[in-house]
Symmetry: C2
Subunit: 770 residues, 2 copies
């Protein structure tokens, strides 16, 4: 891009490159090792970079600054074109996973030949990662595909029989983004979080051996259904199973919506567009009403629930697998939650990179560190000597605003990767256990996998809620850190925020998820503290603070909260102590008040504490072990430990109310220990902040924010983006197409009332008054 | 609007009207009296409602739900049309203020006849109120006009001589939205908050007795200038005054930009469009570069600074009024800040009305208030008995999320009105004092008005920053309280948030403003505590906690923090104690560390405490006095006192970290006193919440959010808005215009590689391999 000739690069006041590139060159950190730490393993690191390279250069998939200029219909269409493009990548990604590049018949045989393998989550690994990375750049694209593959697909995987999974996903092509396109009709206009109370019905008709899917009233309208407005041919529908007048609760059904070739709506299907949203307008969210739509009995997903007509067809029975039916209903949402924790890392790293570079490159005011001088300098509206102004990042307030956000992005990563692994393992186990005839499918195995699933629900709920909130706040705070320039759409924060915040609401409202997970934690706590119940095998990872022995020690003050730099586990342990004291307080409060509802506000905070604890723990575990951290360089390791400490101390300070209220820390410790450490750590992390953001290795094309580009040439990049997207009017620069509206107004005459036929002027009024 | 026939109004689960209308009918509060309290006086109340009635029904000014569907250029054009419409209201509003309805020559004579009066702020009172009310409904419209009247106009009023004010505003028509349209070119690409370091130059040329306005480099480009891209004919430009090589700092100049009739840019003026923003795209923000633009010396605004050529024109001198020059430079921003506090009240009341009604009408889950039962109900994925679900507002967590926001909207109002009055009084005094030959213009008068201005700067900065932050958070929190429906653009939160948050950045970045005000408070504190300096007359209103005697008593614990329901002033006094203890802590920290920068984080909180204190105080003063509260009804008065207490207690709990750290409250008091009171108050305010939101008296057309309309028919209103804005495709419903993109993808064949000319199939590869 052209650089304006009027710029004097020797200007002593502004030269952001000098600072950004300078700090980069002076850094001794090994950003490649740190990047490997963040990406989990060298294998993941490599694949991440290859995929980012592909998606940011593909002529259809890539996003430029005109990405921010699109209106709703354009976004919808562009996103559809990108999905079409992705369908080709899907085939090639499956081939890669199958190591089957040669020969043309792989997809065909996977789809049509029943003897070929049934694809597993592992086979979609590369494509899933591709989608997850795309989310950083174009989140609406990931979601629009994610609704089909993630929600529709996972609902079938979680609730369908093996044959149903094979048929709907493979034979009917869904997994290849082909022939069928699915949506996920769970939420209704009147019910979101309370899935068990959904009102849509699926009534079994014995005479025809079919179900009638029906929307009984307005509030039962399926609402917010991604893909429904424009693209879905099929839907999984959550509806009440009614057999012989009995209501068996909400189950899942496949309901076709559109003729696959003509794209006409099928009879009885009423669909509309949800219209404008706060963000993600590229997703065609819609609403659906079913008017007595008939589907075959066999379209019910029947892994855990079966409707079985008697051989003569005269009667019918319902068979439900009680232990797994309940969890499986929600399992489709699990994948989304797990992915949102990963998204939190990606989004966090993106906005932290932008704001940190800006904070290093931007200079404003000359820092004066003395009260008297300061107020003098302030009030003296006189010219400053041409002294170089201070970099924003050198103000401690700015450090406090930016650097803990950097720490958050870092601390999400190991937790997100660990959660993702646990998710795949547990789901795999559930699939094994629930496969008919599997040797593992005994009652103990059922119980174990069910307990694991419950833990996964707790952790994913707490991590999803806490991190999506943290990232909302991160984007908002960092936008403000970029001043007015953060408000420009071209610098990514505006659309980024609007696209992001729905994550706090969908696939489990954050408050509900926090409450649910904290209630389970409270139950575990009561079991442990009063009955000594604690499952070493299952609970020691995420719930180690609930070990009865640990609880006892905290309660008797054998363990005290402290922060010891020679024993970094103390930065985790303080949170364990806090959790226990918090739970003790809640227990006592319930005992005293007998009012469960009153403590719900506290429970939300318990869930946040749980997430903070588990993020610290995952990070600590990974970095402590050279085999898993991949960080050999000592300076880099030290820098990462500083980030770890900053995260812990920042949140202790944030929650100093609770820390003091539950007597974990004394008031004097907040001032002398916590806030002093916080200041010291900010100074330490500040030194490494360019390297630590470079280590995310996000190319400019992902950032799509000129004030955050790698070269640090903030003002040129930004100016060129603005002028490139807003060329002057070709014929009369500076004169808008609607100029006549303005010239009419400005050029109007002196007498408004003349236009009232002159009937209000002096002479007329005199006549009229006589 | 049509109601769907499928709706069963007897449905036991959903009937939001029943609750909303029921609670309204059962309320004993006098909403009219409460509304009068909120609107300040019966006079203001009446005028507010008349103006709201006009702006929400005027066919050009009103906003419907399609307001949310506009793209950038449409928004720009619609906003311009509305301004044109407003210019007619302006004339009629001035006539009303002048009680001059008859006769057609008022505007003409005000403009052309030098013997007519110079219009004052009072004459624009109705129009200002009109604009302020429009901000609730269409904030970009208010701002686009506000840049012209508020920033351009006030800059001239604050810095121009009497003749200059008369000429530019009245004779040149600006005040009538006629002939000239102004913009305010202060901010540059490289400098925002640091106004004193702006780089644009205005160099005096003795030979021609003119200034050359010049943009020396890229970062000196005027940036974010509202009105510059499309509409401004003139600009006030902040530029460094250079006379005989000496830099006198930043002063203000009138620079014409466009030929008024042809709308062509004048020579040397380079202007571009800033393009897409996070919100408020109806404002045509632009950038400006000046290429040696010549203006007459007389175009410099010269109330406090004069460039005086010697009689023979051989030399030149510069004359600066030192005391007032500094403050006046910023005075144009004061009006904006004061207005943003009023906006905070208006925006807050709007979103609180929506979310409260939704919370009362929406039902979800059946509340179970016992730990064991609760977890059973949760895990039992079995059908519920058709029992009525619980209203959201009856969950204490939801009360905690919504009702303190209601209290915030209430508490802003008296503070906003008081600040507005102080602003007008002080500016008027400044104008008097600085009028040449005025009998008041002695040195003492200068000093007094300068001190008053300083206090006004502190209070307006602290209230602006604190409240714009509170309202950002309020909109965000309340959006989340409305679940997914809050994310629909039609429910006002999305655009509302995007439009709002810029208030945290513009016309004084919130962090900078907080720091500036807190630094001044700290200085006052040091003066009072160490030198006993306290100006009873000036400081007792907003800074009563700085009275030396009070400081002493807090320091010696003669005063202790407590909350006594028989003495409601204790709810204010606890904040006074907190402020003193906080300032003592800061003082000690500075003494210990000698590092001023380290305490900046604390200073931001001091500014927030100051604002909270002054909001409580204004509210208390107004409500305690029957003559000013206009609330006679005891039940209504009690309800208002509950709101007052809730506000105080909510923030004590929020800042419990500080309250404990500075030993204002003990940990046990947080649990037993504060949190218990908080719960009790939430329950009390919950009972009145419909009446308290009705009392804002905002018509549906201002809310523009179907889930918050007065009749409480949430689901119909919302469904009809969505379907009305998104009619089905006319010919093939449910089939989007770009359907072929999707059908191409879904219908594609089995062999992707066939498209590679078949060169990868088995037979070919065998041949090639041989």
């Amino acid at each position: 891009m052209t650089k304006l000739s009027t710029v004097n690069l020797k200007d002593p006041v502004f030269n952001p490159q000098k600072h950004i590139v300078g700090e980069r060159n002076n850094s001794k950190l090994n950003t490649n090792e740190i990047n490997c730490f963040l990406e989990s393993t060298p294998y993941d690191q490599e694949i991440t970079h290859k995929l980012i390279d592909q998606i940011t250069t593909d002529p259809i998939l890539k996003c430029d600054s005109n990405y921010y200029e699109q209106e709703k219909l354009q976004e919808r269409e562009t996103t559809a074109r990108k999905i079409k493009r992705l369908s080709l990548y899907m085939e090639s990604d499956i081939k890669t996973m199958q190591k089957h590049y040669k020969d043309t018949d792989l997809i065909k045989s996977l789809q049509l030949d029943p003897t070929t393998k049934t694809l597993t989550n592992r086979d979609l690994n590369i494509f899933d990662k591709r989608l997850s990375l795309i989310a950083m750049m174009d989140p609406q694209l990931s979601t629009r595909v994610g609704v089909h593959l993630g929600l529709y697909g996972n609902c079938i995987k979680g609730n369908g029989t093996d044959q149903q999974i094979r048929y709907w996903l493979q034979e009917r092509g869904a997994i290849f983004l082909k022939q069928t396109y699915g949506c996920f009709a769970m939420t209704e206009l009147g019910h979101g979080s309370n899935v068990a109370a959904l009102q849509t019905t699926a009534t079994y008709d014995l005479t025809t051996d079919t179900f009638k899917i029906n929307t009984p009233n307005l509030t039962a309208t399926k609402w917010w259904i991604g893909g429904a407005a424009h693209s879905a041919t099929h839907s999984v529908v959550y509806a009440r199973l009614i057999v012989k007048g009995k209501d068996y609760g909400v189950k899942t059904f496949i309901v076709p919506l559109r003729d696959v070739s003509s794209f006409q709506l099928l009879p009885g299907i009423v669909i509309g567009d949800i219209g404008k949203k706060m963000g993600r307008d590229g997703i065609d969210n819609g609403w659906i009403q079913f008017k007595q739509v008939v589907i075959p009995r066999e379209y019910m997903l029947s892994r855990f629930v079966k409707v079985i007509p008697s051989p003569e067809g005269k009667d019918v029975s319902v068979n439900i697998q009680p232990q797994l039916d309940q969890v499986s209903g929600y399992s489709a949402l699990l994948s989304g939650r797990v992915n949102m924790v990963m998204d939190s890392f990606r989004f966090g790293s993106k906005f932290v990179t932008i704001a940190t570079r800006y904070a290093v490159g931007r200079q404003q005011f000359v820092q004066v560190n003395d009260v008297e001088q300061n107020s003098k300098a302030k009030s003296a509206n006189v010219p400053k000597v041409a002294k170089e102004e201070t970099q924003l990042i050198d103000y401690s307030l700015h450090q406090y605003r930016v650097l803990p956000q950097l720490a958050i992005a870092y601390l999400v990563s190991p937790a997100a990767h660990r959660l993702m692994n646990t998710y795949y393992e547990t789901l795999n186990e559930l699939y094994q256990v629930s496969t008919p005839g599997s040797k593992n499918s005994d009652d103990t195995a059922f119980k174990t996998v069910s307990a694991k699933l419950k833990n996964l629900f707790i952790s994913s709920a707490s991590l999803k809620a806490t991190n999506t909130w943290l990232i909302s706040n991160l984007i908002d705070e960092l936008r403000q850190c970029c001043g007015g320039h953060g408000y420009s759409q071209y610098n990514a924060f505006g659309k980024g925020y609007n696209d992001w915040v729905v994550q706090c609401t969908w696939e489990g409202d954050n408050n509900i998820l926090s409450l649910t997970s904290a209630k389970s934690i409270l139950k575990k706590f009561v079991d442990s503290a009063t009955k000594g119940k604690f499952n070493e095998d299952l609970d020691s990872a995420d719930f180690d603070y609930l070990d009865p022995e640990f609880i006892r020690k905290v309660y008797t003050h054998e363990i005290d909260a402290t922060l010891d730099d020679d024993d970094l586990e103390t930065y985790i342990e303080i949170w364990k102590v806090a959790l226990v004291q918090f739970l003790v307080h809640i227990g006592k409060t319930i005992q005293r008040t007998k009012d469960f509802d009153q403590i719900t506000k506290l429970l939300v905070t318990v869930s946040k504490f749980h997430a903070i604890h588990s993020m610290l723990k995952s990070f600590h575990e990974k970095l402590s072990d050279d085999d898993t951290s991949y960080v050999k360089d000592q300076a880099s390791k030290d820098a990462l430990w500083n980030v770890f400490k900053l995260f812990s101390v920042y949140f202790i300070d944030k929650y100093s109310g609770e820390y003091q209220q539950f007597k974990i820390l004394k008031p004097s410790q907040i001032s002398s220990l916590i806030q002093t450490k916080l200041n010291d750590l900010l100074k330490l992390v500040r030194k490494d902040c360019i390297a630590l953001t470079d280590a995310f290795e996000l190319p400019d094309s992902v950032l799509n924010s000129p004030i955050g580009y790698f070269d640090g040439d903030i003002y040129h990049n930004y100016f060129n983006t603005v002028t490139g997207n807003n060329p002057a009017e070709r014929e009369e620069p500076g004169k808008p197409s609607y100029a006549s509206v303005l010239t009419d107004m400005l050029g109007r005459g002196y007498e408004f009332d003349v236009r009232l036929a002159g009937s209000s002027n002096k002479a007329t009024l005199e006549k009229l008054g006589k």
